[in-house]
């Protein structure tokens, strides 16, 4: 009973989440209509409220879904003992593939989460700033070990890396032909070495 019913519901709930993500991503939260989300799911507008209490709750869930695995993956990267260069590559790789795999939800998380009320944003904010802090610590440790310049501002560097990831994520979402693996390598390479001639 509970075995056969739950999976069916969960499956459709997931589909509802993805439909909401897709419509939010395309039209923005305010520009999206519950009718459009329902249509994408193949049900009528009113039926959507079987899965979501309200439009706003749908946004909350899409945002949480978007950041979920993206945020958790960095802990894995931080746990491994690897050279900084490898870790940084992994960070970009993870960031960019999150945009590929959950493109709509990630886009919604980055672009639409502002429209949530303070209370709803708090939990999301914790995940997001946890990500930033972990990344920052990753830089700091590499500086201590002498892998990176001693004068590096780690806070600045971490925010910039996230910014680059989001900027390319935005482009990835709109261009399927972009190769995330190549892109991640280019990003890591740029941040590591800069653009100046090594012997200059």
């Amino acid at each position: 009973m509970a075995d056969s019913k739950q999976p069916r519901y969960d499956q459709k709930k997931r589909a509802a989440l993805e439909a909401a993500a897709a419509v939010f991503a395309e039209h923005g939260y305010h520009g999206a209509s519950t009718t459009a989300i329902a249509e994408r799911l193949g049900i009528k507008q009113g039926s959507l409220y079987y899965y979501f209490k309200s439009k706003q709750q749908a946004l909350e869930e899409v945002c949480a879904y978007g950041i979920e695995d993206y945020a958790s993956r960095i802990d894995g990267i931080a746990a491994m003992a690897l050279p900084f260069a490898v870790r940084l590559l992994a960070v970009f790789q993870s960031h960019l593939s999150a945009f590929r795999e959950r493109r709509d939800a990630m886009k919604v998380y980055t672009d639409e989460r502002l429209y949530l009320p303070e209370s709803a944003r708090t939990e999301l904010h914790a995940r997001g700033s946890g990500y930033r802090k972990t990344l920052e610590a990753l830089f700091a440790r590499a500086v201590e070990k002498g892998e990176l310049r001693a004068d590096l501002n780690c806070h600045f560097a971490a925010l910039t890396v996230i910014g680059i990831g989001n900027a390319w994520g935005d482009l990835i979402v709109r261009d399927d032909s972009l190769d995330t693996t190549v892109l991640a390598q280019q990003c890591a390479d740029l941040i590591l070495r800069g653009v100046v001639q090594a012997n200059a």
Copy 2:
């Protein structure tokens, strides 16, 4: 007659543009109501249509206003014969102060222009991709001169620089305490030298 009337109109039209920019920036295009824009201007909702043909046209004008000086300034930078490092700093400086000086309009340009119909986006797109091409050429020339690594992907580098500028611009808009001069220096420094120890 034409001397005394036009200035009065132009002044208020500009104010209307800035009111629209502020409300679009805060609530997004779809989330913004013409009532809110009018209220900020101190007039009634219906009166707004004396200045704008439609809500969409207001968005177009705000976007154009946002990108206007930002896009034109890079031509000045490209025209001057200066070392690449100085130019890159100027690019970041110009990009970030555009977000400071026209914060709302710039934010609207970057976040909301997608909601314009194709036709309206074409002209804006020309300005935007002109900016990108100029920046790309700037990188390419520096590579030719041996100032930068020969293996640098200039297209990638230009897009990343723009991405960084927009990412920090987003943060600047929401945090007045950030110093754009310092930030521009940090950005330029990071891109030029990277994070790795010079003697590593």
